[in-house]
Every structure is written in C-alpha cells, then in structure tokens.
C-alpha cells in the first residue's frame, strides 16, 4: 500500500524514475507549493521494496507492507 503526502512533495521525480516496477506517474495536479506530486497509477504492481520511500528526499511516500 502506498500513501503519499502530496503537500510534502517537491516534484523531483526520483520516485517516478527509480521505482523498478514503474508504479508512478507524475500527476497533472499541482500541490499548494506549486509542485507536481507522483500518482501511483500501477499500485497493484508494487512489490513493497520501499526504494521509493527511502529515495524520497521529503518523507512524502510511505509504503505499508503489513
């Protein structure tokens, strides 16, 4: 399960580029700071590796495996 705090996101795109299963796409909705957060469009494909959670510089993504 992927939870994104869109307000913490700075739209750097790291999660979009590095998810090995290409789960994310960049949203076309802007957050209140003017950044485009990721959208987990293929959440079903997520294997819960947590790479996106740890590579996110802003604590924006939380992966819940249990």
């Amino acid at each position: 399960m992927i939870e994104i705090d869109e307000e913490l996101c700075k739209g750097c795109g790291i999660c979009v580029d590095f998810c090995p299963l290409k789960v994310f796409e960049t949203s076309d909705k802007i957050n209140s700071r003017g950044y485009y957060p990721p959208l987990p469009v293929k959440e079903k494909d997520c294997v819960g590796c947590r790479l996106c959670e740890l590579l996110c510089p802003e604590f924006s993504i939380i992966i819940i495996n249990e």
Binding site: G11, C56, F59
Partner: protein, 297 residues
C-alpha cells in the same frame, strides 16, 4: 494491514515513527528539489529508529552548509550547530565530557574537508569515538558552487570558471589511512547498504566515518549536465563499483568510478577512554586515595 484501519491512519502511524525524530513543523525541507541532503536525512532517521536509540542519548553536531541542515533544524533533540568547519572539535569536547552519549557529526565536504580538514584527519588519527557522516556533493553548495577540495579535476565552478586545475582528495581512503576504526563509502542511490553502514557506525566504538556521495543538482549538477536529482542518482547507480570488485580492476578501468563499500573496520584503543583512564590514574596518585574515597576529602 489490520482490518478496519483506515489507510491514512496506518500511514500516519508509520510516518509518526520517523517523525518523532524530526522537527516536522519545518518539513518539507528547505533543500532544493531532488537534493541528496533529504535522502541522507531519511536514511539516518531509519537506523536511529531500528536501533531503538533514545534520541535523548544522541548529540548531533554540525557546521555550516546545506548538509549541515540535516541534523539542525531537521533532527529533533540536542544539536550543536557550530561555526563553519568546527563540528569535530565540538564533538570531541562533548564525547570527553559526556562519554555515555552517542556523538554524531553530519556535515558537508566544504565544512569537514575544506575549512575543517585538519580537525578531521587528527580526530581519525586519535580514534575519537564520534560518528561522522560526510555529505560529499563535491562542491560548496550553499554559497553558490565554489570549488571544494573534493571537486574533480577539470570541472568549472564559480571559482574555477576555466576548469579546476587541482586534484581532489580521496577522502575515505585518507581517513582510513589516518587510523579510523570504521570507514565506508556509499552514495545516495545505495540507501539500503547506507542504512546498514550507519547502523554499524552507530554501534562500533571509535572514529567511524561514512563518505556519502550526494547530489547537489543546483550548485554542482547544472555545471556537469546533471540538473536533476534523478540524473545524478542514475550516474551513481551506473558508475559505482563494489570495493571487492575494484581490487580486481586496473586504475584505467576505475577512472570515473565510485568505489563503494567498507574500506576498514578494526578494533583500536579509543582517545576519550585513554584520556579518562589517565586522568583517573593521575588524580588517584595525587590524592593518594581511590576515586570511591574522593568525596571524603
């Protein structure tokens, strides 16, 4: 996920586990989008949580620079935000007077190797029990991209507009040679081994040093054609070589590569221990009675 729990609630609980170590009122960070400093902060909060270290038992010490913002203001609890280049001497002082604390220094290459370089090599030589996490982005990031003693040959920066004519320090190798107890090098792409390495450093006695190659897309990346965090991480992913494999490679093959992994791990007498023992011995000799009887005098 437990039945009936709202997913937002579960996420908040998980986030809260880390946020108890962070000043969440100052998040999102002031770092530029895609900056490696946020990844280092993220990776540091996890081992502290996993080792169940009481944040009250940690004193974080830092200097000046973007990287120096990782412990202060973002990491909650005691931090000494000292002047540029001086976190190591402050940290040494804390460890001497409060040996039960885990003393952690997180700062940048300009701070620790540039202006503070002498403190760094001598603390490694003395094997002071402090944990140093160097955020090496190869530049003075905060002040707009001036040449650092880590900037590779040939790179043009604000203060080397025609290209850098100096050789950079191979800092992890230097600190290993200077006598540290534990030395490793990772990048902000290698988050899992980096967290493991931080755990190792936080629990091993002596001077423990991790060089973390980290991206500064704004003051460095744009000068080398890597304007985003992702481009830098891609480079780290492609050009890193495990130290075990590097020993089999020729110097030519290693040009442009980042050697990652553990360089050194050894048991060694520690500076503040030795200092305390000597102090006790001299005082006992002078007073003529053991420490348990001192209060009577």
């Amino acid at each position: 996920m437990p039945e009936g729990l709202d997913r937002k609630e579960v996420a908040e609980k998980r986030r809260h586990r880390l946020f108890k170590y962070l000043r969440k009122e100052v998040l999102p960070t002031a770092f530029c989008p895609g900056c490696g400093c946020g990844i280092v902060l993220n990776c540091y909060a996890h081992p502290v949580d996993e080792l169940q270290l009481d944040p009250n038992d940690i004193v974080a010490v830092t200097g000046i620079g973007c990287s120096s913002w990782i412990p202060s203001p973002y990491f909650l609890r005691d931090t000494l935000h000292t002047t540029h280049g001086r976190p190591i001497p402050f940290a040494t002082g804390v460890k001497i007077m409060q040996p039960e604390k885990t003393v952690v220094v997180i700062a940048g290459d300009g701070d620790l190797i540039g202006i503070g370089g002498n403190h760094l090599i001598h603390a490694a030589r003395r094997n002071v029990d402090i944990k140093v996490f160097l955020v090496n982005n190869l530049i003075y990031g905060m002040t707009g991209g001036q040449l650092a003693p880590t900037t590779p040959l040939g790179i043009s920066t604000t203060t080397s507009p025609h290209g850098n004519v100096e050789h950079p320090f191979e800092i992890a190798e230097l600190i290993a040679a200077a006598g540290a107890s534990y030395v490793a090098r990772w990048t902000t792409y290698h988050v899992f081994p980096l967290m493991e390495s931080m755990q190792m450093a936080l629990t091993q006695k002596g001077f423990c040093f991790i060089e973390i190659r980290s991206q500064c897309p704004i003051s460095y990346g744009r000068r080398v054609g890597k304007r985003t965090g992702s481009e830098a991480l891609q480079e780290y992913k492609e050009s890193s070589v495990r130290i075990e494999d590097a020993t089999e490679m020729s110097p030519e093959e290693l040009v442009g590569k980042i050697i990652i992994g553990k360089l050194v791990k050894r048991e060694k007498e520690e500076f503040t221990d030795n200092l305390r023992k000597l102090n006790l011995e001299l005082r006992t000799r002078k007073i003529g009675r053991g420490p348990e009887e001192w209060s009577l005098s």
